[in-house]
Amino acid sequence: MSKTWWKILGSILVLYSTIGGLLIGVPRLAILNETIRNLYFHVPMWFAMITLFSISVFYSVMFLLRGKESYDIKAVESVNVGVVFSILGLITGSFWAKFTWGQFWSFDVKQNFSAIAILLYFAYLILRNAIDEEQKRAKISAIYNIFAFPMMVVLIMVLPRLSDSLHPGNGGNPGFNSYDLDSRMRAVLYPAFIGWSIIGFWIYTIRFRIRNIENKQQHN
């Protein structure tokens, strides 16, 4: 029980935010209408991605300090899961854009920079494929991972704020928080943040264990 409580918590929170997100009342706003419910799915994806990439950077730092192989596997697996979440975030975002901005991909700054940030992590994965020697691969990719992380933060969070964007919270637009996120929405959104992050972490631990077993089989 002590090992599974957080998995149960994560499942309950995600279930609650999915069902509650579709049923609980939302503010009526022009243009947004019912698509505002996408907030409960779109934003938590990015939140989970940031969580996973932060875990990855943490283990990359730990690898450089300690040099244990398992840290390297943890770093790469959390990137693998984080990339999936980022793609989900991009997809939910473009669906939302279809119904509010008119197009799936309108080359908005936020969309472009998010795509580039994902490229950053694809580059990390390609860098890993380019090196054969295990220790060397672990060290160099850890260094690139740490070097790329601040750039990812700049790309996703800072740059869109400086330019004209349709996305809420960017280009002088007010964020959702300031005018229309009422207490009913908060009651679903914040559990969704925590729930999806836990689910992402759970997937990552499973992937890590699979990789660990595979590695052991290879060495035998």
């Binding site: 580039i116 490229l119 860098l127 380019a130 060397k136 060290k139 160099i140 260094i143 070097f147 330019s163």
Partner: protein
């Protein structure tokens, strides 16, 4: 104090080596000039300020990738060992970065001159601000590409990895630079560009700081 001495010595070494062969500077210069000339032959005249600005930065991007990536990719094992015995990793990195900034400053200045000669300028361009954008560009290209070329050179196969690894990192910086330069071409007052200038300085500070922290791990095998 020791660090400053080592950095000074290493920069001296780099400049001396370059001065003897003059390979990088002449090579990249020829590259820039022939690219600009090719662009001139294919575009004949650039329609608007936007294209004028974007084309210049794209040429600069590829020129600086070619110029700066030489710093680690073209070093032999023996040369690396030599500076490893001689100096601390921080000194090696800082000296390379400063040397590359100097190299890029000379190159971009000449390139801008030639570009203006070929394509002309627009009325009301704030050349001083444009030159500031170029200085900031030289600094940011050098810092980022120096570190990435160090990573790529350790990873073994240089050229392609260099492009894959550096493009996503340089794009945010390039966008800021293009925006700043666009403000200059449009002749906007200085206070409209403080955001971009501050942002560029901040990004550079972060890059240099992380590079300095990480390089010692990359350096030792």
């Amino acid at each position: 104090m020791q660090l400053a001495k080592e950095v000074k010595y290493l920069i001296h070494k780099e400049v001396l080596l370059e001065w003897r062969s003059k390979y990088t500077i002449n090579g990249v210069l020829l590259y820039v000039v022939s690219t600009i000339f090719t662009c001139y032959l294919s575009f004949v005249s650039l329609g608007d300020k936007l294209t004028w600005n974007a084309l210049f930065w794209i040429i600069m991007l590829f020129a600086s990738i070619n110029g700066v990536s030489k710093s680690f990719l073209q070093e032999t094992k023996g040369q690396q060992l030599y500076s490893y015995i001689l100096a601390s990793p921080a000194a090696v990195l800082i000296s390379k970065m400063i040397y590359n900034v100097l190299l890029m400053l000379i190159l971009t200045t000449i390139a801008l001159g030639f570009y203006i000669l070929v394509f002309g300028t627009y009325n009301g361009t704030n050349l001083l601000m444009y030159y500031l954008a170029i200085i900031l560009g030289a600094i940011s290209f050098s810092t980022v590409f120096t570190m990435v070329s160090a990573i790529a050179s350790k990873a073994g196969n240089g050229g392609m990895l260099m492009a894959i690894l550096s493009f996503p990192i340089i794009i945010p910086i390039l966008i800021l630079l293009i925006k700043l330069a666009k403000n200059a071409v449009d002749g906007l007052p200085w206070d409209t560009s403080y955001d971009e200038i501050g942002m560029l300085l901040a990004v550079n500070a972060v890059t240099v700081a992380t590079a300095l922290l990480l390089f010692p791990y990359l350096w030792r095998e």
